[in-house]
Symmetry: C2
Subunit: 306 residues, 2 copies
């Protein structure tokens, strides 16, 4: 592996990293570090650990902190990490964000507090503002994590604009998992200097072409190589090649997305590594039924993965 993984802030291809669990459903620190290194070797520029795909909200804060600490200890360069630190509780988000900073992460990916609904922009603004003030560190780079299908919270453009204005440089970017192409293009156009990362690699090339930074995606856990090739072809100005590769990348994602994504990815990882423990998931997520798993494995071209 000769690729330079030291980047100034999250750019390019980032995996929303799966969290391997042991038989008691505890994060398996060793397997986690190995997987992170595997992803970097396969071409990922960065690693968004503890997001939706990483089942972060199914872990306690202490479990998240312990697993985060284990990554640099396991040889994962801290600068490649963009940990999710969002939670419903202000104090948890502050604690997790501080720990990410101390660990040397390149930024933090923060969900809006997602328990209460219809709270209005003032309440959401105040949440992010309180997080920033309480963390109280100029090095903080906060990425807004927009995933309304899980949070049922809408991070609208007026709110984002207000946050950027109040905390320039600190409000550094967004992962947009809305799947809303228009929104992503608008974010790229309207907020120069604000890093836009699409929540799916199907929009990787379009996002890069629109001035966005790249993507953070669940399926990149197994599509890193191909996603990186899309990125590099674009960077080298090989537009036609980039399009052909993007088309194949989107097809690959489509065949995985036909299943519940996190369980499907864990089935693929179990197959790719030969370690059945990869299938473990914390409830409320459930493993694929055996027939589904077989179907998935027969449909996805395993040789193209990782």
């Amino acid at each position: 592996m000769d690729r330079d993984v030291s980047v100034a802030g999250p750019k390019g291809v980032l995996a929303a990293v799966l969290t391997p669990m042991d038989g008691d459903l505890r994060p398996d620190h060793a397997a986690f570090a190995v997987h992170c290194q595997r992803l970097l070797a396969a071409g990922c520029h960065g690693l968004s650990v503890f997001g939706t795909t990483g089942e972060a909200n199914s872990l306690s804060v202490d479990e998240r902190l312990a697993a985060l600490e284990a990554l640099p200890e396991g040889g994962v360069p801290a600068g490649t990490l963009l940990p999710g630190t969002g939670s419903c509780a202000l104090t948890d988000t502050v604690r997790l964000s501080r720990a990410a900073l101390v660990a040397g992460a390149s930024g933090v990916l923060v969900l809006p507090p997602f328990y209460y609904k219809n709270v209005g922009d003032d309440g959401l603004f105040r949440f992010f503002a309180e997080v920033i003030e309480r963390v109280g560190d100029d090095r903080l780079r906060l990425y807004l994590y927009h995933i309304p299908q899980m949070t049922n919270i809408h991070l609208g453009l007026p709110l984002i604009s207000r946050l950027i204005e109040a905390y320039p440089g600190v409000i550094a970017g967004t992962k947009d998992s809305s799947g809303d192409r228009e929104r992503i293009m608008t974010l790229c156009a309207e907020f120069p200097g604000f890093s836009v990362l699409a929540g799916t690699e199907t929009l990787l090339l379009e996002t890069l072409r629109s001035g966005g930074e790249g993507c953070i995606s669940a399926t990149v856990n197994v599509t890193s190589r191909l996603a990186r090739r899309v990125h590099d072809a674009h960077a080298s100005g090989l537009d036609d090649e980039a399009e052909v590769l993007q088309k194949r990348l989107s097809q690959l994602r489509g065949s995985i997305e036909a299943y519940p994504v996190i369980p499907a990815l864990k089935v693929l990882m179990a197959d790719l590594t030969g370690d059945e423990a990869w299938r473990n998931l914390r409830p409320p997520l459930s493993e694929l039924h055996e027939e589904q798993a077989k179907e998935l494995l027969s449909e996805v071209p395993l040789a193209e993965l990782l």
Copy 2:
């Protein structure tokens, strides 16, 4: 206060207790214990602390545990407590539920894990089953907290039935905040021995008449006296009186519910106690605007409250 507040399990009128916060938005333990005692003195049979109204999900687990411990120390009988112990993380719910048992609470009120959507009954069943197995204590009395407007998770009757069958006695009841009258009546009819508590005191009398146990309600923070009178009139067979009182109780709730309920209740508490700190809320919740607060205070007959 000469009322007997020692009950076998949550029955009757329970407040979904507000959590007073200090200027740094930390739970104010002393004010919390005083408020709990105020509610018991005003007629509450029990206290559902750390629910939606209590902003529990805006607090860290450590903050919830510390505030829970402070209540018996502050003179609140532990047997009156039905603490919310639900969270997105299995390990947090286990830890909180164990602590509630150790403290001597009458049961625990458990949200489904609410981050992931469309997880299916198998995943939800497995979550509750894992909580019960991991707590591993026969004294556990688990109440299912159904509040789909916050969780976007539907606890359907087939799931409830399956849980009761797997863990008879342990799956002890439900707080149903769906506002769905028919559903509450069906739960009362279909699951004998399963305690049904309506999530609003507007359904108190109907729930009691259908064989349910009572209500757990946010607005009971200020309507305890009247709610208790409805309960007692029903218990004494004074049906006409119960209906008249219920009508007034529902009107009172209606005039509060016209505002965002938690901020409105905190404004009322600030006015009733003369302590402006009562208005403090953790983001993402926001205080009422001053005009709204004035309007509320002019519309609600304060003399009838508590």
